[in-house]
Assembly symmetry: C2
Homo-oligomer: 132 residues x 2
């Protein structure tokens, strides 16, 4: 059954597909990482996110050391079949290794890159605090 799904995903020349991770509750985009066939299978089988680390060249179970695992709620596939969107419950409310909720905590402004505390970031933090 999983092989049927895998056959519909277009992995690139390196055998990878980009996977956008979005918070199922707040809809914040948390991070983007890459999956190979094996990590996608593991993600489907375990309902937790597994990625392929391009720098370390190995599978990576998100949250294995930090405890900040991601429980998979839905996996969406784009029109071309070459990008995944994973909706997750982010355990601990933190997806980024910097300690930020989302990896996208900087935005481009006139002067350059600035760290932001957006309304959505503050709400996300409050939501996570009340929920845990």
């Amino acid at each position: 059954m999983i092989d049927n799904i895998i056959s519909k995903i277009k992995f690139d020349k390196s055998g990878l597909v980009p996977a956008i991770v979005q918070d199922f509750y707040t809809l914040d985009v948390l991070m983007m990482a890459y999956m190979n066939e094996e990590s996608l299978k593991k993600t489907i089988e375990t309902n937790e996110t597994w990625f392929y680390s391009r720098s370390r060249k190995c599978l990576w179970h998100k949250g294995e050391t930090s405890g900040h695992i991601q429980r998979v709620k839905e996996i969406k596939v784009d029109c071309d079949g070459d990008t995944l969107l994973i909706l997750v419950e982010q355990v601990g409310g933190i997806a980024c290794h910097t300690g930020n909720r989302s990896c996208f905590y900087r935005k481009i402004e006139n002067s350059g890159l600035v760290e932001e505390k957006s309304k959505s970031a503050i709400l996300s933090y409050l939501f996570s605090t009340f929920k845990n």
Copy 2:
């Protein structure tokens, strides 16, 4: 000023950076495409999204033929500086060339890939209808 920002983005070996596009109002993830330095500059300068088409090997002004341009509200950069998140107002409410609001209109279920009409998709459609 733009060069200062560009210097902080890590383009890959092909000179590209993945850009996730998210609806500023509904927070739906609409699509993912790639930008090179020139298309990112044009995006910042015009406040509309420009991408680099890997298949056609040229710049691509989103919505140029369909009219479904994307007005840029915010550009976020991830912790590694190698992925962009563009928050946009999606003109016409349709981002995908298939006519769907989002390119991510299919989800993985036991049996394979199924097209969905999720609550969020229905709400997005209603929101867009009332707004336009």
